[in-house]
């Protein structure tokens, strides 16, 4: 039995110690916001926070994750939206959206470390891949989330 602390809840699970955290989340806990994209640490679709750091859940074993504080997209901000999510909506960042749960977790971790990241910080801190090419909006949204308060206008039309 391994004990996992995910989004503030503790789960005791009988899983193989070498099962990647990604599959503990997806197959065992049904937390499907964290995505599989490559399984080898390249794409970042599986990014979660472990003790506050952005980590690739496909590379972290169940044994290594046990006992540490894991936060997934489902637990990033409840209730309500994290400022990164607000900025993502405000700047219409996602296209297919598959990579974005991981992107958002990576951005949240980056901003926690560097409240006002430069473009170079973003290039270095955001190593997630997006096949739809949403990078320009990711950058814009991170800068916006770093600014004092990102407000989301509820209006249907913008601009």
């Amino acid at each position: 039995m391994l004990k996992f602390n995910v989004n503030g809840r503790v789960h005791s699970l009988d899983v193989e110690p070498e099962m990647p955290l990604l599959w503990v989340l997806r197959d065992q806990l049904g937390l499907l916001g964290t995505k599989y994209g490559c399984g080898i640490g390249q794409c970042g679709s599986c990014t979660v926070l472990i003790d506050g750091n952005a980590e690739r859940a496909c590379l972290v074993t169940a044994a290594a994750a046990a006992g540490r504080k894991v936060v997934t997209i489902e637990g990033l901000s409840r209730p309500g939206l994290h400022r990164v999510q607000k900025a993502w909506i405000e700047h219409e960042v996602p296209q297919c959206g598959y990579c974005h749960t991981g992107m958002i977790m990576a951005a949240a971790a980056l901003l926690a470390k560097k409240p006002r990241p430069t473009d170079a910080d973003i290039d270095e801190g955001m190593t997630n891949l997006c096949r739809c090419g949403t990078y320009a909006r990711v950058r814009k949204a991170i800068h916006a989330a770093a600014a004092p308060v990102a407000t989301v206008t509820p209006a249907a039309k913008k601009g």
């Binding site: 197959d27 080898i40 296209q95 297919c96 990078y135 320009a136 039309k157």
Partner: protein, 716 residues
Amino acid sequence: MTIRSPQRRFFLKASAAVGGGLALEFSIPFAAQAAKGVPPTEVNAWVVIHPDDRVVIRIARSEMGQGTLTALAQLVAEELDCDWMKVGTEFASPNEHVRRNRVWGSMSTGGSQGVRGSHDYVRKAGAAAREMLVAAAAAQWKVPAQECTVDKGVITHGPSKRRLRYGQVAAQAASLPAPKDVKLRDPKDWKIAGKPVRRLDIPDKVLGKPVFGVDVTLPGMLHAAIAQCPVFGGKVKSVDDAEALAMRGVKKVVREDDFVAVVADGWWRADRALKKVRIEWDAGEYGKASDATIAAMFREGLADPKMMEAKKAGDAAGALSTAAKVIEAEYASPYLNHATMEPQVCTAWVKPDGFVEVWTSTQNGEASLAEAARTAGVPQEKCEVHKMMLGGGFGRRGAPQDFVRQGVKIAMAMPGKPVKLMWSREEDMQHGFYRPASLVKLRGGLDAQGHLVALEAKVACPSILDTVMPGARKGGVDFTAVRTLSDMPYEIANQFVGYALRNGHVPTGFWRAPGQQNGVYRECFVDELAHAAGKDPLDFRLAMLKPGEKNRLVLEAAAKAAGWGTSLPAGVGRGLAVVEGFGSYAAGVAEVTVEASGALRVLRYVVAINSGHVVNPDTCAAQAESNAVYGLGALFEANTVKDGRIQESNFHDFPLPMIGDMPKVELVLVPTGDFWGGHGEPGILPFQAAVLNAVFAATGKRIRTLPLRKEDLRKA
């Protein structure tokens, strides 16, 4: 998104059975309708209205990130004249589509067709529903419909100022006959369409809420991992599954002719066990194929005296023999995987009564339904496909439905159990339907004044149609292999395009903007010709485009927006290109710089697009950005072949552009209002040529063979 309940299915069946599939033939008293739990009303196939005025618009095309879902909803809502803040969407059911005589038109989502291929009938559906709603209100008031007006879902009787909301009259409206002719709004008067309204799918996407194909979860569901024969066309020879079967969670090892799958209680367990299945493959006849044999095949094709004629105007050979100057060049590109971020996936459930239910990320729900039914050997009526959110498509999930065939096959081996098949990235990388590799030889003849008098193109390239739509080519030229060369807007008196069809064994498919590699070849070669003629690349092109011609319009718009001809910082080069396709016209100007190491940086990409009409300018901008990144990747990505199989296996050896690689993208919309074009693909058409022409301007190096390697640009 929620998976639809059987009750809902029944409700829709009832509606389909009556009134030719358009009207729902029962009326609900107003009082009862206002009460909670009253079902929504299908006013027509596209428009469903809840008693509280929420409008559900059915979407027949797939949403893979391109924004079609929102754009189509905008078009329906525009004519329906409902409150946009109350609009939601649902995907139309492929099963119902078949039973209702294809009431939703085409479900195919490719070729940038989402809007341009359905704008007319979706707008008419919205307008028809509006007229029925107004007629229902007028009938209730016993006044002529002409005395009523509509605004945001509220019908007002002008003389008496009485008002009714859509939700109050939807049931009555549904029982009325559909109007025969409806008048569509002049786009000048659009209030919802044409505006940068927010995409409907984004709020859920930032919460991780959408159910992508990989996220489908059903009671008692099992998971499958698959291994396909690494050599295309090969077969399974023998399987030793003893070790795998003993592993934790493993339920079954499924063996088919061309694949082996492990079914387990979790995907990771299935995949881990699959690696322990000892599979011997029979590579078949292509076990020796390699990049070298493929290149030789194309090389032989270029010399084929019997190549097909794709275009002939004047006498190209004659004009070339008398031209003052002849320029010759060969261009080549590799195979390319789509690399959708979500791998191929299909959940299938063969139920005890024989009904087959499928959940998948598909670009064509109808094709998925046909494939599922064919594989299971049941009529399409006994089969349902649920279209899930797609983690990218780019052409991979439309014509080929290999993942559906496999998913259903595996489910048939596990009757009564839903099974979710997901491909590993490695399978996805090595079993694509690749952008064709090709080799093209170009010859251009200039007269003494530097005018282009002859252009000859010989194309050696596989036929995509032969792989994904066998028979569609009907023995002739595959237009996807010769486009942009055989249909040039330039006025050149003597032209010849020959097509040497060479299929090889690597499956090819529609990869974002099929045929786009010809845009690279043509526009780079035209640049070469301009330089040979001693002319500015813009002037050289404009001289061959009549005033008012649509390629000319976008070329001028892009050049103006980019500041063509203005000075640039040292080391920065500028290049341009113009290519039409997918219903639209696109011209791009790129600015690049090359570092001493040979690393290329694309700084800026200005792209002007004329799509006739524009339904959502912000989504168009997002597509322009997307196309720039996809095009940038395609300069460096390659799938290579050795021993019959694709060498690359994951993103470490098929690297995608990253955030720091993204150029500044500026979209200039120049819609002329007289046609409907797409946005999902046109933005990529001029990208690579504009970049490579800019590389030449910056370095003097002419790149003719892709992929581009650092060594190609490193300073000597």
